[in-house]
Symmetry: C2
Subunit: 255 residues, 2 copies
């Protein structure tokens, strides 16, 4: 069966002008703002008009664009050393959107799409949103390949090892016992978790795996703490919030 691999992600603005497109598409996503379409549009407009300039400023500080597109291209180059099938990026909110890859796959007679979400944890707001996007685009194109979804890798040993090697590199020459290690995950509204999203479970699994790996290498921090970042709006989100923890540190040296 002729196969192709699609790397799924939300995408990141390729330039400052794309920041608005990125936000508009994100807040038009029914998996992100889970309400009726009219209310969603209303709320989206409020959020975007309040945040657009701040978000642009953040991307200016990052060099005028997101690092994600380039990192994805590098990853694809590396994967090509191991796989003899076509590999495409498929982003959710900015180009390259999935349609480019899907048109090529349809043209080339690809019979099986292997979807690899770049998100370590499964969430309706990320993995499901991307998978539904692919399914809808395929349907609209009259293209019916077999679709295979790769499992979340939040506690895959090689992934955990790679993350921990980064942590250990950063701490080289420093006394880990004097530091708190904050593991900061993107937050989500509690309402989404209560509706059955497994994201929090898998984030906790990821944190426990990192703790265990570090301990197995004899690396001991003063404390290892899981926190959540990037809360938007006034509803209840996953806790503790990164900003609150940084405002009230119980300990002074934080990585």
């Amino acid at each position: 069966m002729k196969q192709a691999l699609l790397l799924l992600n939300m995408g990141g603005p390729n330039n400052i002008e794309e920041v608005e497109l990125f936000l508009r598409n994100m807040f038009a996503d029914k998996n992100i703002l889970t309400m009726n379409p009219y209310m969603r549009k209303f709320i989206a407009n409020i959020i975007i008009s309040k945040r657009l300039e701040d978000v642009k400023e953040n991307y200016r500080l990052l060099g005028g664009k997101s690092p994600l597109p380039e990192l994805t291209d590098q990853l694809i180059s590396k994967l090509k050393n191991y796989l003899d099938i076509p590999i495409y990026p498929a982003m959710r909110y900015v180009p390259p959107f999935a349609d480019k890859a899907l048109f090529q796959c349809q043209k080339d007679g690809v019979e099986e799409l292997i979807l690899f979400p770049m998100y370590p944890q499964y969430s309706t707001t990320t993995t499901l949103s991307s998978v539904e996007d692919i399914q809808q685009r395929c349907e609209a194109m009259g293209y019916a390949p077999r679709i295979t979804l790769i499992d979340p890798y939040y506690d895959d040993y090689d992934y955990i090892a790679a993350c921990c090697e980064k942590i250990m590199d950063t701490m080289k020459g420093k006394e880990t016992k004097e530091y708190d290690l904050l593991l900061s995950a993107h937050g989500l509204p509690l309402s989404i978790i209560k509706a059955g999203d497994p994201y929090q479970n898998q984030v906790e699994g990821n944190a426990s795996a990192i703790k265990t790996y570090l301990a197995s290498k004899g690396v001991a921090f003063h404390e290892i703490k899981l926190v959540y970042q990037s809360k938007v709006g006034s509803s209840a989100w996953l806790e503790p919030n990164l900003v609150d923890v940084l405002r009230n540190p119980t300990h002074r040296k934080v990585l």
Copy 2:
């Protein structure tokens, strides 16, 4: 400050006659059956009349009693080698109840009670139930010690190492790659999880820590799967259920 250590647990029947007391006290617990007292009593009577003889039969197969009281006594003997403070068991549903320890502590002028829940994961149905039991008994006795609660240890490295050594001992001489490892945790109704109980998160953390530890020792199973056991009644519980997984194994050798 004069201290004492209390080991909290649900307790297990010391003989066949205590099985009914065990069930009656468990299903009288507002943290277990979270409904109004009249409904709780009604439901408790139904469950107990349906299950009492089966549960007694199970304890007969275990030798006419639960192994928990004896294991707790052994643990206390070992702890006494490390700690120079009084150590007491405090069980929730059968003797030794907390009152015995609390009367002794009050008499001896103990000013701080250190509560160590034997449950690796925090749950309202276990840890909170025991802590509230202690608080209420202290209040009724006019005893106001300082109370310190020890954190859950579901991803404590030494605990994970001890669990994994047991697994590795059991697999000695066997080819782990040919086996599925099922990690079976006690289930809970989804309604309790949705009300904010962190139990499932911590069970997932525990499972990811075990996976990571085993991988760090080069131990590879065919698959490691988290399952939930001991479902009661018809409401939705945590999944997958152990019994369903055993009925439909995707693989034949299971530990």
